[in-house]
């Protein structure tokens, strides 16, 4: 999948909450539990289904964390692949409709 066409959205089956800068995420389907670091949390929180991953990395990661854009994009794609394999994120090459009116996790 070309990187410029990746859209990501949070699954409606998950629970999530921020604790001291890290995001706790649990998938209710299998009770797998994750914590995301600050960078991953920023991507997760921006996963609204309509902002391309490329834009999220540019606006939320490179700017905020001062990292190399190419490396950041590669890391973000790997992160998205891992979380989608666990059912935490939905990934598509076109904008994703919201599954519920889920609020961005606090």
């Amino acid at each position: 999948m070309p990187e410029n066409s990746i859209y990501i959205a949070r699954s409606s089956a998950i629970a999530a909450r921020a604790l001291a800068g890290e995001m706790m995420v649990m998938n209710s389907a299998d009770s797998t539990f994750f914590t995301l670091n600050e960078v991953a949390t920023a991507i997760f929180q921006a996963a609204d289904g309509c902002t391309p991953l490329r834009d999220i990395v540019r606006d939320r990661i490179c700017e905020q964390f001062e990292v190399d854009p190419e490396q950041a994009q590669a890391d973000a794609e790997q992160f998205v692949t891992e979380l989608s394999a666990h059912g935490i994120l939905r990934v598509s090459d076109r904008p994703l409709p919201a599954e519920t009116s889920q609020q961005a996790s606090r």
């Binding site: 604790l19 519920t100 609020q103």
Partner: protein, 371 residues
């Protein structure tokens, strides 16, 4: 240390309320003989009030939300409450007797990605279960509901509270749970009523039966480890705290009262009058609960069981002092290990004494089973 333990410790250290148990009603369609609640409605929070509380809890950092009662499905707005909770991305667990759950409700629960449904089952024998709930055919309805939920892939935990009338039925309930593909938990704790009435403590199972339960590998896992004598008490043990109540956990009643735990009836504030975080952060009662370390406990600080005891500060509070011993837990420690507790020794006892005030703890009262 597991990731979950690590997170729990972090929340504890930061004073973040990671988990909240919220009763949405005290009304119930069953009349369980051991229940500690007053089932009359004294002014439950409205739908809007509960949604506002949930918004506040999400802002405060609450992740694990248990919705319970009473019977939660007696609230016509219950699904609206769960929907709101899931929109706020809580991990939601529901405690229910399940008699109002049919195929449609099971589907809705699945669609809302509720983590677990905990359902009380007292016996594998319908007549014993129904005699405890005092609701005819409740066993049949509850088991049917569990099947509906499992068909939808919803995780179910069967909670088996043991008391005098069903103490020999745990193996049958465990087998039933396996047949239904449900998780099984056992709880031999009967607590006083919320108004302090201790009469229901007469339903607690006799100590000798506790010994049998605690030495049963099918119920406790590694029995040798579970029943091992306590390790020598260290300085670190004495710096420790009893449990998460008031540290990273609290309870909210249907009337908006906030307590450290569901079995710790120390009022700390009311959410109809104050913001949740104001109560959590500034209530003198929460501050006092948080200040108590094992070394501050009047009797337990000198007890050999202090590092391994399940001492409940709420039960201790109901016995007279949140810094004092909880006799029910002394009893468990004794029957688990065979070693008397400091609380027993100071009373010159080689075996625990009744913890129910004027009512003897060890009192066999068979349940009347309808013919």
């Amino acid at each position: 240390m597991s990731l979950m333990t690590d997170i729990g410790q972090k929340a504890f250290n930061l004073g973040v309320p990671l988990a909240v148990h919220m009763d949405v009603t005290f009304r119930c369609n069953e009349r369980c003989i051991h229940c500690y609640l007053d089932h009359d409605d004294h002014g439950e929070m409205t739908t809007a009030e509960i949604k506002d509380v949930l918004d506040q809890l999400a802002d405060a950092g609450v992740f694990f939300l248990t919705l319970s009662g009473g019977e939660v499905f007696l609230r016509r707005d219950f699904f609206e409450i769960v929907e709101h909770a899931r929109r706020l991305m809580f991990n939601v667990k529901i405690k229910t007797n399940a008699v109002m759950i049919h195929e449609e409700e099971a589907r809705r629960i699945r669609d809302l990605s509720v983590d677990t449904i905990q359902i009380s089952v007292y016996s594998h024998r319908p007549e014993v279960h129904d005699a405890i709930t005092k609701l005819p055919h409740s066993f049949e309805r509850t088991v049917k509901a569990i099947r509906f939920l499992r068909e939808q892939g919803v995780r179910v935990t069967i909670a088996n509270v043991l008391m005098t009338g069903n103490s020999s039925d745990h193996a049958g309930v465990q087998k039933l749970a396996a047949e239904l593909d449900a998780h099984y938990t056992l709880d031999p704790t009967i607590t006083p009523m919320m108004d302090g009435d201790t009469s229901i403590l007469s339903l607690r199972i006799p100590g000798e039966e506790l010994t049998e339960i605690f030495h049963n590998p099918a119920l406790v896992g590694n029995q040798e480890e579970f029943c091992a004598p306590p390790k020598p008490v260290s300085e670190e043990d004495l710096e420790g705290y009893s449990c998460s109540a008031g540290h990273s956990f609290c309870y909210i009643s249907p009337y908006g009262d906030v307590f450290p735990c569901v079995q710790f009836p120390l009022p700390t504030g009311n959410i109809r009058q104050q913001k949740f975080l104001d109560i959590w952060n500034y209530s003198p009662q929460f501050k006092e609960v948080r200040s108590i370390q094992a070394k501050d406990l009047t009797v337990c600080s000198s007890c050999s069981h202090v590092s391994s005891c399940s001492r409940c500060p709420g039960l201790a509070y109901m016995e007279g002092s949140m810094r004092g011993p909880s006799s029910a837990d002394c009893e468990k420690s004794f029957y688990r290990t065979g070693i008397p507790t400091a609380n027993m020794l100071r009373q010159g006892l080689s075996k625990p004494r009744s913890t129910s005030g004027s009512v003897p703890l060890i009192q066999i009262r068979p349940i009347a089973v309808p013919a």
